[in-house]
């Protein structure tokens, strides 16, 4: 089970993700409401996985993704967004995203994606 940081500007989404992840046996090590706060929390909490929203104030998810990977390339980033167009996904994968959760999400889809990313992390 993994240490997870949740980054989303919607408090309800953070809360919901936190409940879902905890129910799946994961440890939520922190939450952040924008990209800049996310970078700070990444340094403080050293998560295995960051769940990252794309549209956020101060620093957008795409930029935060690049910066997180610079801080620690071992951290897996799962993007959580309503935009799942091929070019968006391809661009995010190029930038280092390991997974994708489509909004609105279901509990099972979230846990399935995180488990899959965690399995990759353990295999690496």
């Amino acid at each position: 089970m993994g240490k997870i940081l949740i980054v989303d500007d919607s408090e309800l989404t953070r809360f919901l993700l936190s409940k879902i992840l905890t129910s799946g046996g994961h440890e939520v090590v922190g939450e952040a409401g924008d990209g800049l706060e996310a970078l700070q929390k990444v340094k403080e909490t050293e998560p295995d996985v960051v769940i990252l929203d794309l549209l956020m104030p101060r620093m957008r998810g795409t930029q935060a993704l690049v910066e997180i990977r610079k801080i620690n390339p071992r951290i897996r980033v799962v993007v959580c967004s309503g935009d799942h167009q091929e070019h968006t996904v391809r661009d995010l994968v190029k930038k280092g995203a390991s997974g994708f959760i489509i909004k609105p999400f279901k509990k099972d889809a979230v846990l399935q994606e995180i488990d899959s990313v965690m399995a990759g992390l353990q295999g690496s």
């Binding site: 919901l16 167009q85 489509i102 909004k103 609105p104 509990k107 099972d108 399935q112």
Partner: protein
């Protein structure tokens, strides 16, 4: 072309029969004994191992046909390509997303889209996918990257069991516009005026979508059982939810209290 074994519902009972499938019609053998030109078919629904064929008339005649997957697949393809429907040649990708997870082997298939009375059918040489119109949760004309180019597509979301399934249709923009207008008109009962819903009720809706039960929703939004009940009533009234079951909230009777207290007492020496 081919004679295939089927079971057909006749007078409320399933009877064994055969269907002679031709290019433009099918003939059901005895005890039904009926020739059906495909052009007279106005609707086709799919249930598990079952096709429901509606033939025009006053009143329309409905045939329920059961058979093995291979037979139903051949029958579906012939009917959809020749029945009375709005039909267009198109590329489609279905399913592209299921339950919030992208389908990894999803590809564009060359085929046809047929819009019937109760469902939209995506048909290719090897695939027939039915999207019941009453299960459609959303549709939009949007852009999607295909072979490096942004092209216009229609995106259709529909419910399949408890998952939302997304499909895409690709064809000339003028045809897509006709299709989207038709779909919007057919499913206009599903539209919700955002003003009908306050933010808290919308949040409850989102949590239900995510799979949270009533108890979790009360805790997450810090609202009472009574408040949540009121929100549920609001959502029920505008048709956004169905009641699956009513949970009982209970307390112990004196008899119950006695039973529980007795059960934890140490055995008397």
């Amino acid at each position: 072309m081919a004679v295939v074994p089927v079971k057909i519902e006749k007078d409320g009972k399933w009877v064994v029969s055969k269907i002679d499938l031709q290019q433009e019609s099918m003939t059901i053998a005895e005890p039904v004994g009926k020739a059906i030109p495909f052009k007279s078919i106005v609707d086709l629904e799919e249930r598990k191992s079952l096709l429901i064929v509606t033939v025009k008339g006053e009143p329309p005649t409905v045939y329920k046909i059961a058979s093995v997957e291979k037979v139903l697949q051949a029958m579906k393809r012939l009917i959809i390509m020749a029945c009375s429907a709005y039909r267009l040649m198109a590329y489609f990708m279905s399913p592209a997303v299921r339950g919030g997870v992208m389908v990894t082997n999803a590809t564009w298939e060359k085929g046809a889209i047929a819009v019937l009375k109760t469902s939209i059918w995506f048909v290719s040489q090897n695939k027939q996918v039915s999207v019941p119109l009453k299960e459609v949760t959303g549709m939009e004309l949007t852009k999607r990257e295909v072979q490096g180019k942004q092209v216009d597509v229609v995106k259709i979301d529909h419910m399949e069991n408890t998952d939302v399934v997304t499909s895409y249709i690709l064809c000339p923009i003028s045809t897509l516009q006709i299709l989207i207008n038709f779909l919007k008109d057919t499913t206009k009962d599903l539209e919700v005026n955002p003003e009908e819903l306050d933010p808290l009720s919308a949040q409850v809706g989102m949590l239900i979508y995510s799979g949270m039960d009533s108890h979790a929703i009360e805790n997450m939004l810090n609202i009472s059982h009574k408040d949540l009940d009121e929100i549920y009533n609001k959502l029920l009234k505008i048709g956004l939810i169905d009641v699956v079951f009513v949970r009982k909230e209970v307390q112990l009777t004196p008899k119950g209290v006695r039973f529980i207290t007795d059960s934890v007492k140490p055995p008397s020496p």
